[in-house]
């Protein structure tokens, strides 16, 4: 049996490194397109300010990009180092999208990003724009393949357990790629990245407007950010992740937990706006409900049921029991003692094998599991409802706040009244963390909501670990935290420094700190030199 503390530490390490990586990725996803927009305007109009915009926001993009690359390396290693059984068990399916990501996307992004930074003098205008576009394309294709891989963890289609090799094997690459969960996740996640980049550019531009610096530069940047941000926030909300929750039992559990829907309701189910879910009593106290809404969101119908947690646990218990039958048959087949009936039973119930594996955290002898252990394992198929309920609401609240900001900002800008509303500029500036709050809680909802599974209905998380010790994990986790903290301090320092400095950092002689002969930042001893 696995040491629960060791499993916890493995999960913490993955969560910390993934969440940290995911600070930098969304900005890269969106900022590359914003750079494409700015540079396109430059190529079409020939106006220098758009080139300066591309170069300045490109500089901030570069500071962010370096850490995105750095922390992405960890993700590539970590499946092997810390989730070895996972890699062994599902590498046949999960590895392919990751490898294709490298071939199709990561090469593209990384080869052209160097030319983006250093190729201004060596490429024609059009060539450079093409380079910027290919960087953006590579970045976004990269996200597509990663989410194909992640979508398969949520809803593992196109694969089958092979009893000879004792692992999952791909049966249809098209099913893995066109997995509906993966597709909606990609759109949701990429759009969220676009929103993050828009808030970033809008917030920093608002800062220049508030300071009354480099106004032409700031207004044009603001316009691009508001336009792109408005389209993106609609995409995030309208094409939200929710449509992905209708397929697969694990997704159903996640949905029920998010909504704290303990009991299956008569369709169409009500949406719990707020309330206090209680994981002990399995009830939600003081719930404020909106009738019909939940059923419509989740099933896109008014007559389909949205199953509640109590019913989902009952289903899980049933699948554990049939899973035990499959496990017993599997053992017989592997020992060479199986008769025809064993083979038939295995084929019939092998889709529930993963449920039997859930018992391995309570007993090594899965087939002798007691009733109590089975019930415990069934209850364990539902993650902590309170946590999911609230993180989901934080995400949604952040999203709607940004919707308000972008709509208001866009309308006021169209009426040329934006700069008179200094409160809104301030809201954009101090609202810069909002998309990251939404994104990180969104990650939590998606991945914690998948628990106790590493691969939904197939492989429990605790089994997916490597054969390491608690001490190993403590050392490596301490190493990651130390390293990542230092890197974060350096990154934030540079990011704040250059954001404050603004386009003066380009040393073109056209912007605020260089023109007014200001003695501060630009000429300070630690003046920035890199473009």
């Amino acid at each position: 049996m696995m040491d629960p503390e060791f499993v916890e530490l493995s999960r913490w390490q993955f969560a910390i490194t993934a969440l940290y990586h995911f600070i930098f990725v969304p900005l890269t996803l969106g900022l590359t397109w914003i750079l494409v927009i700015m540079e396109s305007v430059y190529v079409m109009t020939g106006k220098q300010v758009y080139k300066d915009m591309t170069r300045f926001w490109g500089k901030l993009f570069g500071i962010n990009f370096a850490l995105g690359v750095t922390t992405g390396l960890t993700m590539e290693f970590e499946f092997g180092t810390n989730w070895a059984y996972y890699s062994h068990y599902v590498g046949d399916v999960f590895g392919a999208p990751l490898a294709i990501e490298g071939l199709m996307a990561f090469f593209l992004e990384s080869t052209f990003v160097g030319m983006f930074f250093l190729g201004w003098d060596r490429l024609s205008k059009r060539q450079h724009l093409a380079v910027t576009f290919l960087t953006a394309l590579g970045t976004n294709l990269s996200a597509l393949w990663i989410l194909v891989a992640n979508g398969w963890m949520q809803n593992p289609v196109g694969a089958e357990f092979n009893i000879d090799t004792m692992r999952m094997e791909m049966t249809s690459f098209a099913e893995v790629f066109f997995n509906p969960v993966a597709q909606v996740k990609f759109i949701h996640t990429a759009s969220a990245g676009y929103v993050a980049a828009s808030m970033f550019v809008a917030g920093i531009s608002a800062y220049y407007l508030l300071k009354g610096r480099d106004l032409g530069f700031a207004r044009r940047s603001m316009a691009v950010a508001l336009g792109f941000g408005l389209a993106s926030i609609f995409s995030v909300i309208v094409l939200g992740d929710e449509s992905g929750y209708e397929v697969g039992d694990v997704q159903k559990v996640k949905l029920a937990a998010i909504e704290a829907e303990w009991h299956t309701e008569e369709p169409p189910a009500a949406f719990t706006l707020f309330g206090w879910p209680n994981d002990e009593t399995m009830e939600t106290e003081h719930a404020i409900k909106i009738p019909w809404l939940m059923g419509i969101i989740a099933t896109r119908s008014i007559d389909e049921e949205v199953p509640g947690i109590h019913d989902l646990i009952k289903q899980a218990e049933h699948r554990i029991r049939t899973g035990i039958i499959a496990y017993r048959a599997m053992t017989a087949i592997r020992n060479g003692t199986a008769d025809e009936e064993d083979h038939a039973l295995f084929d019939m119930y092998k889709k529930d094998l993963g449920y039997a594996l859930l018992l391995k955290q309570y007993t090594d002898k899965v087939v002798d599991a007691t009733d109590e252990q089975i019930k415990l394992a069934a209850r364990g198929t539902v993650p902590d409802v309170t946590l999911l309920f609230w993180t989901f609401r934080i995400m949604v609240f952040s999203g709607f706040t940004m919707l308000f900001l972008f709509v208001t900002g866009f309308v006021l800008m169209a009426q040329r009244r934006l700069e008179r509303h200094r409160w809104l500029l301030r809201a954009f500036l101090y609202g810069i963390p909002l998309p990251w709050i939404a994104i990180e809680t969104g990650w939590f909802v998606a991945e914690y909501g998948r628990q106790p599974w590493a691969i939904g209905e197939i492989l429990p998380t605790f089994l997916a670990t490597s054969s390491l010790t608690k001490e190993d994990l403590m050392i490596s986790l301490a190493g990651f935290i130390t390293f990542y903290t230092v890197l974060a301090i350096i990154e934030f320092y540079l990011m704040f420094k250059f954001a404050r400095l603004g386009p003066s950092s380009l040393h073109t002689g056209r912007y605020h700190f260089e023109r007014s002969g200001a003695p501060d930042l630009a000429n300070a001893p630690a003046a920035p030199v890199k473009d």
Partner: protein, 380 residues
């Protein structure tokens, strides 16, 4: 589909080899350059020259490493799982060293403070020296066999220790890997720089070339006389479903040389390693840096295939439970996955080579101190 399973498995052994060679030729070059950075560049401007020779390329080049890792995951999941978790702290050491590179390249010249820049130079050097050293050490351990076994649900268990990896033969293999990367980085620097830096680089070519030839030869002799190889006694057909525990393996002295005596053509790999290294040194001395660079690229291929061919068909032999050793026949993915990946590689690798070539052509020049000074705000 197109290829039968047995052929497909063999093709993927070749492809993983090609990806590793691609990694060594492209990323190895950057690491060689990084390893030499504080030694060949005495002033800030000189160091910036050195960094900017790989400036527009290092990120793309690094993807060879990432893709080799991804391909390992997809094509040989058992090897990826057993080696990365078994060599846990060694892999983390590589990872932490690699952290220093993207930030080093990007952040170093962002601030004009000598302590800041100097620190990043040493960070870049560390990030360039540690990975080849550890990869060499890992290969040295693969050649000696790695203590691991599988349990009844095919979960890999590593029985060795972190410090056990650093045995004398493995350390020697580490020096082989480091010196071949440094050689390659040095020929590249000689090609892309001028005057004092190019002269220092030419000297580095001679030194690293000699170290490489000496250690590569020593490792070969040691392998022949001092290290037991592995041999398959009985196994399921190569085209059978991959079951790593279903074969019988024996450990035998000299077994790693059997492929070479049975198929003498394979001796071309080590000969290429030695011959190309000598050629690189001679060409460098004659001032033909282009030829030296081409030759040092061939050194990478020679060395990687020398190790691969010695172990063939083994990939990760187990010293504690030889029957559980991983071979290219039984550590692979399913036929469908290998096929899908092969199609993806066939489509994208030529495209990648195409735009990488364009990148190098567009950004190709001799980097000079004058250029760096003229572009001090836009160069790395």
């Amino acid at each position: 589909m197109l290829l039968d399973y047995e052929t497909l498995k063999f093709v993927w052994w070749l492809l993983i080899g090609v990806l590793l060679v691609g990694f060594a030729v492209m990323d190895g070059m950057d690491m060689g350059v990084g390893a030499l950075l504080p030694f060949l560049g005495k002033t800030d401007a000189e160091r910036r020259v050195i960094i900017n020779t790989v400036g527009p390329h290092w990120d793309g080049n690094q993807v060879w490493f990432i893709t080799a890792g991804g391909a390992l995951f997809a094509a040989w999941p058992a090897v990826y799982a057993a080696s990365f978790s078994g060599f846990y702290f060694a892999m983390l050491l590589v990872l932490f060293a690699l952290f220093l590179r993207p930030v080093g390249f990007d952040y170093r010249s962002k601030l004009d403070a000598s302590q800041w820049r100097n620190s990043w130079d040493w960070a870049l050097m560390t990030g360039s020296v540690v990975p080849p050293l550890v990869f060499g050490i890992a290969f040295g351990n693969l050649l000696q066999g790695v203590p691991f076994h599988y349990d009844d649900i095919m979960r890999p268990w590593y029985e060795g220790s972190f410090f056990g990896l650093f045995n004398p033969f493995a350390l020697l293999a580490g020096v082989v890997a480091l010196s071949m990367f440094v050689l390659h980085g040095a020929t590249f620097l000689q090609l892309r720089t001028e005057t004092v830096i190019a002269e220092r680089a030419a000297r580095a070519v001679q030194i690293s070339g000699l170290v490489f030839i000496a250690t590569f030869a020593l490792a070969g002799i040691w392998l022949a006389v001092g290290i037991d190889g592995y041999r398959i006694v009985e196994a399921p057909a190569p085209g059978a479903m991959p079951m790593p525990t279903a074969k019988t393996v024996e450990v035998a002295a000299g077994a790693w040389l059997e492929n070479y005596s049975r198929y003498p053509l394979t001796l071309l790999a080590p000969l290429l390693g030695f011959g190309a290294a000598i050629l690189a040194m001679l060409a460098s001395r004659a001032g033909r840096a282009g030829w030296a660079f081409f030759a040092s690229a061939l050194v990478q291929a020679g060395v990687i295939f020398t190790a691969g061919l010695a172990m063939f068909p083994f990939v990760m032999p187990s010293s504690s439970q030889p029957n559980h050793s991983l071979t290219l026949w039984d550590a692979t993915s399913s036929q469908l996955t290998l096929n899908v990946m092969l199609i993806a590689a066939a489509i994208f690798v030529p495209i990648i080579i195409g735009y990488t070539f364009w990148n190098f052509r567009k950004m190709w020049r001799v980097v000079t101190v004058e250029e760096i000074e003229a572009h001090s705000h836009s160069a790395y």
